[in-house]
Symmetry: C2
Subunit: 111 residues, 2 copies
């Protein structure tokens, strides 16, 4: 961003969806989330086995996912146990569903 004459305001949902999208705007971060969906949790070291980037770089990506609220880390000395933040995950899912015009309620119609 740069010198904007005045601040632009968007709808909360628009801004929030963009924030979630931004968090997912890098393949490494998508991969981390996918990994977490499969493993339910993991330590940074597990990711380093799977992602050929420096530890500091992966840590940076984790930070972004954490800042976006998509994951959370629990201290499990000396490691840190990461997992998906379910509450915000549902929030993101909901926003994307509305955006893509998907009616989640239809699922309640399952036999």
């Amino acid at each position: 961003m740069k010198r904007t004459k005045f601040d632009i305001t968007y709808h909360v949902d628009t801004e929030e969806l963009a924030r979630f999208a931004k968090a997912l705007a890098h393949p490494v971060r998508v991969k981390i989330i996918k990994y977490l969906s499969e493993q339910t949790f993991c330590f940074t070291g597990d990711l380093l086995d799977v992602i050929p980037l420096a530890q500091s770089t992966v840590s940076q990506h984790l930070k972004e996912l954490k800042n976006a609220g998509l994951i959370e880390g629990e201290v499990n000395p000396p490691k840190i146990k990461y997992c998906i933040n379910r509450e915000n995950w549902e929030k993101a899912k909901s926003l994307f569903c509305i955006f893509f015009d998907i009616n989640l309620d239809d699922k309640s119609c399952m036999i």
Copy 2:
């Protein structure tokens, strides 16, 4: 990005989802898509009435959405008519649904 020792490869879906997410990683672009969903089509001028940014800036955002394949522009001299690229839209929807573990088939169960 910067000096990476070697190229990293990701799954096609991972890369594609990240690309779509990146296109939606800015509130203005989310707003444009939302606008297009409601109006089915629009001209750049319509967007300028709604978005308080320079014409060149909006044009840049449109270009990004076009490059990601989410929208398409049809020349309608002297204007350009924009609309959502349905094919890629469905592709994006599908990728996000898989990512969020949403089973679209459940919709076929509607009464």
